[in-house]
Symmetry: D2
Subunit: 337 residues, 4 copies
């Protein structure tokens, strides 16, 4: 099994985190290059992995013969173009979600991948690698709560990213639920509806928190809350209600403190501590799949594929349609690819 030389495109928080994780914690991977339009940022991320070369040119990184595989962690709007470039170069890609902001763009990426022979793109739905989510899926599959009937999902963060809109909150953030729910249930989302809560004064005009009802083909109903400006912390919850009981994620805190008349555990400020293990295991699984001599991570479950990204984007489209049409129930339709 040879070392996989990885090029990372995008050196913001997410990209830099991937550089550090690949370098420090992933067996069999080596960060060969880091690209960012801001070259100083590229240099500073590259410095996290001695030997990694910084560049301002993502396409040069993709073409670099010293790069075996590409991680895309640049702005959402660039994902599709970069992913297509990588598959044309015949290189495996791990692309951060979303695959693209629109379903049409997602579909064009999937088609480009198919023309290149398929199986080259993995999508960064890292919750599939979160040990807690993985245990939940395994317990569900083992019948621990009987037939699943109803899910309650909650995703809260401290504050929305700058420039966030109601649409990007759905396509770029709630999209996690649109992958997690069908992955947990092994059943696709077929219809959705959108329901605004009372908007938070802190949400500056956004419809936040949002409640979405998702119906999967198996008949299960999911209530999904996303609250980008929850203020108090980063908090991801999921409960599956089955015919004989329920399964739910626990509070992941490791320390409990008694002080000042309270017993408390801490909430992280963002996704990094919460999903550090998930990202590490995702990068490890992706590296293993490539390094094992397979041309691509095809079939390396539970890595999400480009098609999973397209499918989630189609759900996001339906949610936006419901949001813009008084909360009516909208059927999910993914374009032919």
């Amino acid at each position: 099994m040879s070392t996989v030389r990885v090029g990372v495109v995008g050196a913001g928080n997410m990209g830099a985190d991937h550089v550090r994780t690949l370098h420090r914690f992933v067996s069999g991977a080596e960060v060969a290059a880091v690209a960012d339009t801001d070259e100083a940022r590229a240099a500073s991320a590259a410095a996290l992995a001695p030997g990694a070369r910084p560049t301002g040119d993502a396409h040069a990184l993709i073409a670099d013969p010293g790069v075996d595989a590409v991680v895309i962690a640049s702005h959402d709007s660039t994902h599709a173009e970069l992913a297509v470039a990588a598959v044309r170069a015949g290189k495996p890609v791990l692309c951060e979600k979303p695959l693209a902001p629109t379903t049409e763009e997602c579909a064009s990426v999937v088609r480009a991948e198919q023309r290149a022979g398929g199986g080259l793109i993995s999508l960064g739905f890292m919750r599939r690698f979160d040990p807690a989510h993985a245990e939940l899926k395994a317990a569900l599959a083992a019948g621990a709560c009987g037939t699943p009937l109803l899910l309650h999902c909650v995703s809260r963060g401290v504050s929305a990213a700058p420039g966030c809109t109601d649409a990007s909150g759905v396509t770029g953030s709630a999209v996690h639920e649109f992958d997690t729910v069908p992955w947990l249930l092994d059943s696709p989302i077929t219809e959705v509806s959108f329901h605004a809560a009372r908007p938070s004064p802190a949400a500056a005009g956004l419809r936040d928190p949002k409640v979405m009802l998702l119906r999967t083909a198996d008949g299960v109903l999911t209530t999904a809350e996303t609250f980008l400006n929850a203020g108090y912390g980063y908090d991801i919850r999921c409960e599956v209600v089955g015919e004989r009981g329920t399964l739910a994620l626990t509070d992941p805190a490791r320390l409990v403190t008694d002080a000042d008349r309270t017993r408390s555990t801490g909430h992280p400020a963002d996704w990094r501590p919460r999903f550090a293990d998930a990202y590490r295991l995702e990068l490890q699984a992706w590296t293993d799949a490539i390094g094992s001599g397979r041309a691509a991570p095809r079939g390396a479950a539970p890595l999400a594929t480009a098609l999973d990204g397209l499918t989630a984007a189609a759900v996001a489209d339906a949610v936006l349609a419901s949001m813009n049409d008084g909360g009516r129930t909208v059927a999910v339709r993914a374009p032919e690819v």
Copy 2:
């Protein structure tokens, strides 16, 4: 403050529980009589309170000059008629929920009470007296989570009562949520929609679990799950999501056990252990209000009134209308009284 001589109508589980609680734990109350159409059952409940006289005739109990006040815990279908009889006799009533199965009947009871001068009927929405719910309301009012935006309520039981229908599940069981939510928020429910989960194989044809979306006048959205055949235990949850944080009920178990590879707490089999304190405090508040010389418990907050019962019934009607019309959003309309 003189002793309040209480007559209890209905000697099933609920009535017998009230007899025992009044006798053993309520200061200033004495159970004078117990009525049930099944006289043996009346006798056996009366035996729980030495001195209480059993009878097969509820109307005789209401007319009895040795009865100062009446608790109604008979079948839902009899509540309205008995409550009206009691108010006509000028006696304070604590009526188990629902006030009546239909909004029209509820309205007629409210009108009868108004003709009798008002303020005679209290309704058994005992969650208002549950110390946990009371703390939740107090913390909310104190601004502990900022402006409330979204509520998540869950009510689960082991199995539906015999003869339960989708309609009675809403009017007789989910009705608790229809009172608790506006009471917590100090804002009436204005519109609702109904959403079936995948029906439980254990639910024998019922739409169970149910999800309801409730909108209050303040704009807050509530997701309310009721699952009558949850199987695993009796479990009541409520979380308020506010602009700065959340407030939620804890697991009320008092004991944690480590055994057989698990750490566990117990779930009660029904409402009795969960709400024993709530019923006791409700009966105490009702007794205090009557014994303090007020002709009626008028204004003895947080005792629910007949009007609260009518209001909750109108919400139930709207939920049933949504259930029978594909889950569309239905406005709540209470009849004029």
Copy 3:
């Protein structure tokens, strides 16, 4: 069952609390009189129970023919004398712990009670009535963890009472453990040792927190921590380790709050919220025993007796002997009575 007319001696926090609880929440009891050497304090506590007569003279209260039974909640140093006066008057007594600060005084009270025919004194070891402790004892008795082997008890408060000494911390506070442990195990404490932790800077010279090892006749070992100046809150814990598992009290908080990067539950500032139910149920059981026509609450388990108070005092003596002798193991010896 006739109403029990109760006289309460001592109108500090504890006495006033008993007045309020008896008046508002205990079925079958009526507060007839309240005594305190500070007459204004007596009056203000009496005002909590309309009809109760304040007095500055505890002995007059005891002699009062309108008083059927006496609650003693005055200073620890007065318990013995007042309890003896009450039993000489033939009246049932509920005496706050400790029965007396020394074993010898406790023994003299027990002898006085025996001369009066016995069975008149109950001792306020209210933890026996705490629903959580009661569940723990019941689960233990039901074999839920197999044979008990080891106990871990923790009692923490915000700050020691003014004037507290190392000795009074043992005889007046840790004494709760000296009753709870043998009551839970149905086995007397036979030897003890004392082990100082690093003294808290907040403890102003006291040996606080303290660790005591208690050995019961059944061979079980108990580690008992008492920390009077724990600062963070009032917190009582108990875990029984058995051959097949463990049983422990849960956090009794009813509300969980997410805010400011933490998930938290509250700790009470003192014993009142934590043991409100225990005190209520203790007073109810005591009232029931007297009102049921028994001359005294003899045998009304789990009410603690004067002998239980003497037994606990003898354990406290042994702990003090160990504390004053380098932590050596000391056998418990109760005086003959």
Copy 4:
């Protein structure tokens, strides 16, 4: 940074786990060889890391020029001899605890290491790398509970290893506490005492559970329970009681299940799931230290050293002395090295 070629000695549960972890999850490490006196076992562990050579001869593995560094996970009785052989060969060693079963043997290893220039041996006190223990230490150092006063440690397992004695339970198992406590407090253990609980019927003659009192130089008292035959699961707890509050490890379970009248989380059957991350991070830190060009992991805190192993062994000796002398308090004395 070059790849570190690791030889693993011992292919039982622990050794095989290290092989798998090094191969799959440790960046910069490669398993070059696996030795076990049982050659079939060596082969089967080597198969977990393609490319690793199995051998029946540990000394040949140590001498192998293709092995840069050695992990010792063979029987406790062989640790000292193998560690000495490795340091004589100038190779860094990660030795599973204990360094040796007796203090004298530990001291001789430390002396051998010093003669070789020092800094070559790391000891497998992996709890230092457990993210929960690391957070606890960090919070303590940050003053989150004020000055530490008292610790409560609990270590429970399902059943003792075959052949376990009271002595090996202390030197081979409780030894974890003898390292964790001084590491957390930055203060050495100076005196100890041993206190038997009632022996578990399941413990087949062992004094199990055991309670030890440990006093550190800073005056803090630790109560340490070890219960090898706890039956119910593998469960590690630690609470630090400070002047202003407490810090404690949480239940590490990731999933909560409602079923059969209980809410439950799972306990692992042994140390592997509980400390998988700790072992991985320990191996990563050790690999990083070696690969970074340092001849040895000297100073790569928090890796434990041979001296830490000797220090813990001296505490174990004192505990055994107390156990064999009626529980008297025994001072800890480490031999000069």
